[in-house]
């Protein structure tokens, strides 16, 4: 970074007076210091890119609330955190919306979860692609013949949590096998 680009306050003053070049440099440098901040909080790089663009647009919309007299970075970070919180709130709300309710799986929980028409060996390749905990639960229940309660005792989970994890794994497997 050059000395000029580091002086965000001066760049913003020029930008507010209509200097397009200064504004472009300011936004580029802002994107540069915000990217690692977002990357530490969001896993997917495409989401980081989308959020970064949203933040730059927000900075553009709110630029009249910055006068160039106080430090620039806290102002930019405040907007970034605000948009990040919005993003995370929407993200988790979406997850919650798609989550399987316990009442929804109650009927399945009544059924013996160790019985299945498909053998473990025939789909072991697919099971290995599951999240490690789900894969381990299915392996113990279907290959090693443990009951859900025994699996729960062995891996320190509640029995109901083991059944829910198994149910979720079945759903994923069913989707894969139906393709």
């Amino acid at each position: 970074m050059t000395d000029k680009s580091e002086n965000f306050e001066a760049l913003m003053k020029l930008s507010l007076s209509g200097d397009k070049r200064a504004y472009a440099v300011l936004l580029q440098e802002t994107a540069r210091f915000l990217r690692p901040f977002l990357a530490r909080r969001i896993n997917s790089s495409s989401e980081v890119d989308d959020l970064l663009q949203e933040i730059l647009i927000s900075i553009h919309k709110a630029r009249h609330t910055y006068d160039g007299e106080r430090p620039y970075k806290p102002w930019a970070y405040a907007i970034a955190k605000f948009r990040l919180q919005d993003h995370l709130r929407a993200h988790y709300a979406d997850h919650l919306h798609h989550a399987v309710g316990l009442s929804e799986v109650e009927n399945d929980l009544q059924a013996p979860v160790t019985k299945s028409d498909i053998t473990y060996e025939s789909i072991s390749g697919e099971i290995e692609k599951l999240p490690p905990k789900q894969a381990a639960i299915l392996q113990m229940m279907h290959q090693e013949g443990y009951t859900a309660k025994e699996v729960a005792d062995k891996i320190g989970m509640k029995e109901s949590a083991v059944k829910v994890a198994a149910h979720r794994a079945y759903k994923i497997l069913r989707k894969i096998l139906e393709r």
């Binding site: 663009q53 730059l56 709110a62 630029r63 009249h64 609330t65 160039g68 106080r70 102002w75 405040a78």
Partner: protein, 211 residues
């Protein structure tokens, strides 16, 4: 979506000269001045309480009036700070109303202790809350409209403080207008409803100050 470089280029093309927002002190001063004009005009029309000069000799009445005026000023300053994404880097100013509300509660407590024998309760009750709320509608709408032109990252908090500011204008008006000496009544129907108003502002802020 486009890539970052394209977006930066497109935003930079829109970089026309922009007038920076006024300092929070100036913004707060505008709101206070507007509210004072509204208050004076309303008192001109509705009239001052007939015993006002006599009441101004009572220390706890003066303390109540002074602390309410300070809340009025502190909430306007806090609201003005809260419309800036970074709180104009004056976080303490945003919290100013908390200390003043604490002082106000202490003043009311001592006023209540000093009210011996207790002044008779007036015949009316919730009408006071309704009057204050109706009186506060105009300053509330004006403040919210003004705040929407900025970029608050604390929309709930800002909404809450903005409504408390408007409500304090209404509370000042009734304190100076109504012939009423009952501290119990004043606490119950003038000031306790402020808690509810704060919650309404919390909800309205989320709806109307989001950008």
């Amino acid at each position: 979506m486009v890539n970052i470089e394209e977006l930066v280029e497109s935003l930079a093309r829109d970089a026309a000269p922009v007038k920076p927002a006024p300092h929070p002190f100036m913004l707060s001063l505008r709101w206070v001045a507007g509210a004072v004009v509204y208050l004076v005009a309303s008192l001109w029309i509705s009239g001052l309480r007939p015993d006002l000069m006599q009441k101004l000799d009572e220390p706890w009445f003066v303390a109540e009036l002074a602390s309410l005026v300070l809340i009025f000023i502190a909430t306007s300053l806090s609201a003005a700070v809260l419309v800036f994404p970074d709180l104009h880097q004056m976080r303490k100013a945003a919290w100013a109303p908390v200390g003043l509300f604490a002082i106000f509660v202490i003043v009311l407590f001592f006023s209540w202790r000093a009210d011996v024998p207790p002044a008779p309760l007036p015949m009316h009750s919730f009408e006071c809350t309704v009057s204050i709320t109706l009186f506060a509608l105009l300053p509330a709408a004006w403040t919210f409209f003004s705040m929407r032109q900025f970029a608050s990252t604390h929309s709930r908090w800002a909404g809450s403080v903005a409504l408390l500011f408007a409500f304090s204008v209404g509370a000042l008006w009734l304190l100076l207008h109504e012939l009423n000496n009952s501290i119990i009544h004043v606490i119950q129907w003038h000031y306790l409803p402020m808690l509810g108003i704060g919650l309404v502002g919390w909800w309205l802020g989320r709806r109307f100050l989001k950008w």
